[in-house]
C-alpha cells in the first residue's frame, strides 16, 4: 500500500503538468470554438449563399472527419501548405474546429427552440434582426444549450488525450511515458483516471443543477 502511494506521489507532479496542458488545450479550444460555433449556427441559417456554403463545408468536415484526422491534418498536413504550427497550436486548432462544428448544431437547435412568436413580437415592436437576436433569441436560446454544451465540453476534455498523436505532452502522453519506464501500468492509469474523473464528475453534477435552474422562467 505504501508502495502504491509512493509511486503515485512520484508520478503525480509529472502527470499534473500533463493534465494542466490537457486542461489548457481543452479550455482554449472551447473558449474559441463555442463562439465560432455560434457564428456558424447563424451563418448556416443566413440567406446569403456566400455565408451558408463555406459554413456548411466547415461544419461537415469538422463533424465528418475524426479528431485524429483533423489533428494530423493540421500538424503534418498544413506545413506543406506553408503553415507550420507547434503541437500545442495544432491541437488547439483541431479541437477548436471540431468544437465549432459540433456546437454549431447544438446552438442552432437551441435557438430554434425559441418560439417563433418571440421574434414576431420583436419584429412588430420595430426591433431590427440584430436586436431581436441579441435581446430576444440568444437570451432564451443559449441557456437551453448550456447543459448540452457542458456535456460536450466534458467529452472534449477526455478527447484531448488524442493530442498525443501530435506529440503534445498532455496527461495521457505523460502516463504512457512513465508507464514505459516503470511498467506499472495498472496503478498509473488508475491515477490518470482519477484525475480525469476529478474534473468530469463535478462538472456532470453542475450540468444537472444548471438544467434544473435554467428551466425556471420558461
Amino acid at each position: 500500500m505504501t508502495g502504491l502511494l509512493d509511486f503515485w506521489n512520484q508520478s503525480l507532479p509529472q502527470l499534473l503538468t500533463g493534465f494542466t496542458l490537457s486542461l489548457q488545450v481543452t479550455g482554449l479550444s472551447l473558449a474559441l470554438g463555442i463562439p465560432l460555433g455560434l457564428v456558424l449556427a447563424l451563418t448556416l441559417q443566413s440567406a446569403s449563399r456566400w455565408l451558408r456554403w463555406p459554413s456548411l463545408v466547415m461544419v461537415e468536415i469538422g463533424r465528418g472527419a475524426s479528431i485524429l484526422v483533423l489533428l494530423q491534418f493540421v500538424y503534418f498536413g498544413l506545413p506543406s501548405a506553408g503553415l507550420t504550427l507547434s503541437s500545442f497550436a495544432s491541437a488547439v486548432a483541431a479541437f477548436c474546429w471540431c468544437t465549432a462544428a459540433y456546437t454549431s448544431e447544438i446552438i442552432r437547435a437551441g435557438l430554434q427552440s425559441v418560439h417563433h412568436g418571440q421574434s414576431e413580437a420583436g419584429e412588430v415592436l420595430g426591433l431590427d434582426p440584430a436586436e431581436i437576436l441579441r435581446f430576444v433569441i440568444l437570451p432564451q436560446g443559449l441557456p437551453v444549450c448550456v447543459p448540452t454544451l457542458l456535456g460536450f465540453s466534458i467529452l472534449m476534455l477526455q478527447a484531448s488525450s488524442l493530442a498525443f498523436v501530435v506529440a503534445l505532452p498532455e496527461l495521457m502522453s505523460k502516463a504512457q511515458l512513465i508507464g514505459s519506464n516503470t511498467f506499472r501500468y495498472m496503478p498509473l492509469f488508475a491515477l490518470t483516471a482519477i484525475l480525469y474523473a476529478a474534473v468530469c464528475i463535478p462538472a456532470t453534477i453542475v450540468v444537472g443543477r444548471l438544467e434544473r435552474r435554467l428551466s425556471r422562467h420558461i
Partner: protein, 246 residues
C-alpha cells in the same frame, strides 16, 4: 388612416386572401369576424407585413407598400412604425421582467433613455391596472394580466393604429373581460383599432364597424349593430346564427 386595395395572399397554390379592399378612418374601431380559416389572421398579418402580401396595395398614414415590388427593410420599418400589434398568445418575452418587456423597444426604437422609458412603462402598466407587477416575470402573471402587459408594450411605442388578433381567445371568459375592458377604454380614448375577435358582444357594442370575412373575402360590412342584427348575405346570416346560438 389605412387603405387596402386588392390585397391577395397565396400560400403556394392556396389562395387565402382573395382581393381585400378596406379603408379605415382615424379613430375608427373595426371588428373583423368570420368562420375559422376565413383568413382573418392572415389579413391582419399582411397588414403589418408579418406575411408578405402576394398582390395589392397597402397604405398606412403616408407610407404605401406595393406588393408587386420588392420591399426594402427601411420601407417595412417605416410602414410598421405607426402599427401596434397584440397576439392571441401574448408573446411576452419570458426572460425579462414585465417592466423590461415594456421598456425595451422604447429604448431601442424610440431611443428613449432607460429612465424615461421605465417611467412611461410604469404609467402604462398603471393604466392597464398592473403597476404592481412591473418587477415580476411574465410567468408569474395570469393570462389576462399577460395580455394587458402585451397591450401596454404595444402602446409604449405610441402607435396610431392597434391591431388585435383574437386577444381574448386564449383566456377564460373572466380574464378575457379584463382585457376587453382595457380595449374598450382604448377605443373610447380615440385609438384606431382593428380587432379580429370571436367576442360578438365586443363586435356589436364597442366597434363602430363590423367586417364579416369568409373564404378570403369581406362578404359584408357596415355599422356594427346593423350588420350583426340584420345581415344581408346568406353566408353572413348562416355564420351569425351559428355563433349567436352557441
Amino acid at each position: 388612416m389605412i387603405e387596402v386595395s386588392g390585397l391577395v395572399k397565396d400560400f403556394g397554390a392556396h389562395r387565402v386572401l382573395d382581393g381585400i379592399d378596406l379603408s379605415v378612418q382615424r379613430g375608427e374601431v373595426i371588428a373583423m369576424i368570420g368562420p375559422s380559416g376565413s383568413g382573418k389572421s392572415t389579413c391582419l398579418r399582411c397588414l403589418n407585413l408579418l406575411e408578405a402580401p402576394s398582390a395589392g396595395l397597402l397604405r398606412v398614414g403616408d407610407v404605401t407598400i406595393d406588393a408587386s415590388r420588392p420591399v426594402t427593410r427601411r420601407q417595412r420599418l417605416g410602414f410598421r412604425r405607426p402599427l401596434g400589434m397584440v397576439f392571441q398568445s401574448f408573446n411576452l418575452f419570458p426572460h425579462m421582467t414585465v417592466l423590461r418587456n415594456v421598456s425595451l423597444a422604447q429604448e431601442r426604437v424610440l431611443k428613449r433613455s432607460r429612465r424615461e422609458a421605465d417611467e412611461i412603462s410604469r404609467q402604462l402598466l398603471d393604466r392597464v391596472g398592473l403597476g404592481a407587477k412591473a418587477d415580476q416575470h411574465p410567468s408569474r402573471c395570469s393570462g389576462g394580466q399577460q395580455q394587458r402587459i402585451a397591450i401596454a408594450r404595444a402602446l409604449a411605442l405610441d402607435p396610431e393604429v392597434m391591431l388585435f388578433d383574437e386577444p381574448t381567445s386564449a383566456l377564460d371568459p373572466e380574464l378575457g373581460l379584463e382585457v376587453l375592458n382595457v380595449m374598450q377604454e382604448l377605443a373610447a380614448g380615440g385609438m384606431t383599432m382593428i380587432v379580429v375577435t370571436h367576442e360578438m358582444h365586443f363586435a356589436e357594442s364597442v366597434s363602430d364597424r363590423v367586417l364579416i370575412m369568409a373564404d378570403g373575402r369581406i362578404i359584408e360590412q357596415g355599422p356594427s349593430a346593423e350588420v350583426m342584427r340584420n345581415p344581408q348575405t346568406e353566408r353572413a346570416q348562416r355564420f351569425l346564427s351559428a355563433v349567436m346560438n352557441r
